[in-house]
Amino acid sequence: MAEQQKFREIDHSSDIAVEVYGSTLGELFNSAFEGLLFLALDKGNDKSRKKESGKKKIQLEASSPEELLVDFLNEILFLINAENIMIQSGKVTVKENYLEADLSISRDSAEKYIKQEIKAATYHNLDIIRRRSSFKATVFFDT
């Protein structure tokens, strides 16, 4: 069976937006994380992957899953844009309004791989839609 689509970039006249999916809230967050890395970083060059050198843990708490999602994505953007940390991959675990993410990072500077400057993940029209066995959200980024 084909792997379920995790995210899809959608058109937005001024900025960029991504629709993210998951069968659980945790999967939705992982999809959003992958979607953001896809939009922000050019990982076509595998040289950086070889230099994978460390781990970074993120722990966040918010007052709703939506706010948690924005906080998390902006945390990732801060690491890339301000700390210059090249993020290779990660695993996100979510329990309602609490999140833990274990990131694999490399020694390489993220600056070399930034595809486009993303200023922030916004709260615009952000609703995590829960159906019986699926979760969906649309995240708009300011670029």
């Binding site: 844009n81 930034i114 922030a120 709260y123």
Partner: protein, 491 residues
């Protein structure tokens, strides 16, 4: 003609009213012609105008300038003014890139003395000496202590360190700084980001452009602004960089809590806000002023570098100065019709006409103040308004009008306004082809990323001339001159 949503009616030439419906405290008002309004309907930006109209304390109308397009929360091109006693302040109504703005530098160089090779040389030197693009390297690093001075002093800080001269201040909106900025209201993260990015252009739609004044529409005003046909000008478009983004993000988080605390209903989380007079509102306003001051310092440092390069390439005694510097993402307390309002302009430019006391060297009470925008030289013309176009078209110099004070809280457009998503632009435009196409029109493009350049191709935007015509005809600002691009440097 496409169907108009039932609640939108044309009430006059260039004016479309969004009628009040449930939750809206005031109607919406969009300045557009019959062509531009179609785009507004298509991309549903009018819904965002209506959402803003539901916010507490909004005055008269939730407005949109002719370059309106769909944003996030507030539309881009939106103007909303709130009573400072009853109303709110919203970080989303000002945007992430606080005091993103444009300045035009005038030179004593005539375009006829500027051959293709010289334009290339200038572009190359700008490209090599003024950091552009994503990331942070190559900037003017400042210590934590110096940064706090930058945040308090704005453009003046850069001038004190030799970037440009003090004569520039009179040609910057608010003389290049907002009073009451307090760095204590910034997070450690915002300060961290600010230390490394001063003097950088950034990416996205930010640019440096070498231009020539190709047309003069209002000779008398052009003389006051110090521009004439054939003059070479340099345009700078950038803002407060990561520091501004962080301030917006930090305070949006705070405002998510504030809406619950103050029982404020909003139609979109990005509209999160707090009463202007509340501790949260005041803290944000002080932090926003820091970011605004940072942006002015940033454009001033870049100006200093540009002038240095012009002197190196031409002669050390070359005449330079500013036409003006405008911000187009900012919130300001202004008096309109006897009431103090916090005016949010997001993708909109202040367009004050001659009667504004700020232009006469006096404060709004008419008693005089140390703040002398332009030392009174614009009290007969109105302030200069700089409207950047796209890299393949033209930019405009306009002037503010008293009519704008009546119609739009003294506001006008900020540029062309996008019509195409970045994704679509990238799929339709090849970066290399774009460089060739512009070259054939006599425009040299140097971009750190051809993909970013493709996203910013002229076809991704509305026709800036159409937008400017609507502003001119609606009396929001008045045309003074047009500038044609010769060379473009992008991140």
């Amino acid at each position: 003609m496409m169907d108009m949503p039932g609640n939108i009616i044309k009430i006059a030439d260039y004016k479309y009213l969004i009628q009040k419906s449930s939750g809206m405290n005031v109607p919406g008002l969009i300045f557009a012609d019959d062509t531009l309004i179609r785009k507004v309907i298509e991309d549903k930006a009018y819904e965002q105008v209506a959402n803003v109209a539901t916010l507490r304390g909004i005055q008269d109308y939730s407005m949109a300038m002719p370059d309106i397009h769909y944003g996030y929360g507030f539309p881009i091109g939106g103007v909303a003014a709130f009573d400072i006693k009853e109303g709110i302040i919203s970080p989303g109504g000002i945007g992430y890139d606080i005091n993103c703005g444009v300045r035009m530098i005038k030179t004593g160089i005539d375009a006829s003395d500027l051959g293709r090779e010289k334009i290339k040389e200038l572009c190359r030197k700008f490209y090599n000496n003024i950091p552009a693009g994503v990331g942070r390297s190559g900037s003017l690093p400042v210590s934590a202590g110096e940064l706090k001075e930058v945040l308090r002093k704005g453009a003046r800080w850069a001038i004190e360190r030799g970037y440009g001269d003090s004569g520039h201040l009179q040609d910057i909106e608010d003389e290049g700084f907002m009073e009451g900025a307090d760095p204590e209201d910034l997070s450690d993260r915002a300060l961290q980001r600010g230390k490394t990015q001063l003097g950088t252009l950034g990416a996205g739609n930010h640019f440096l452009e070498i231009q020539k004044i190709s047309d003069i529409y209002d000779k008398e005003t052009a003389e006051v602004f110090g521009i004439k046909k054939g003059m070479v000008t340099v345009m700078v478009h950038t803002g407060s960089r990561g520091l501004g983004y962080q301030v917006c993000d930090d305070y949006l988080k705070i405002m998510q809590k504030a809406i619950k605390k103050y029982n404020i209903e909003i139609k979109d989380r990005q509209l999160a806000c707090a009463p202007f007079k509340s501790p949260e509102g005041q803290r944000y306003f002080r932090a926003m002023k820091c970011a605004a001051n940072y942006a002015w310092a940033n454009r001033q440092v870049i100006t200093g570098k540009i002038i240095e390069i012009l002197r190196e390439v031409f002669s050390s005694d070359i005449k330079t100065g500013l036409v003006y510097d405008v911000c187009h993402n900012v919130g300001k307390v202004e008096e309109h019709n006897g009431k103090k309002l916090i005016v949010h302009r997001k993708g909109a430019t202040r367009s004050f006409g001659p009667s504004r006391p700020e232009l006469s060297g006096k404060d709004s009470s008419g008693k005089g103040s140390p703040r002398k925008d332009s030392s009174g030289k614009y009290s007969k013309t109105g302030q200069p308004v700089i409207v950047p176009g796209t890299m393949g078209t033209s930019s405009y110099v306009m002037k503010g009008t008293d009519n704008a004070l009546e119609e739009s809280f003294g506001s006008t457009c900020h540029g062309a306004g996008r019509v195409m998503s970045r994704r679509k632009a990238k799929s339709l435009v090849d970066g290399r082809e774009l460089v060739k196409r512009l070259d054939s029109k006599g425009i040299i493009l140097m971009a750190r990323s051809l993909k970013t350049a493709a996203e910013e191709a002229p076809e991704a935007y509305k026709d800036v001339s159409g937008v400017v015509e609507v502003c001119h005809n609606a009396g929001l600002s008045s045309k003074v001159a047009r500038a044609r691009p010769l060379g473009v440097v992008k991140g």
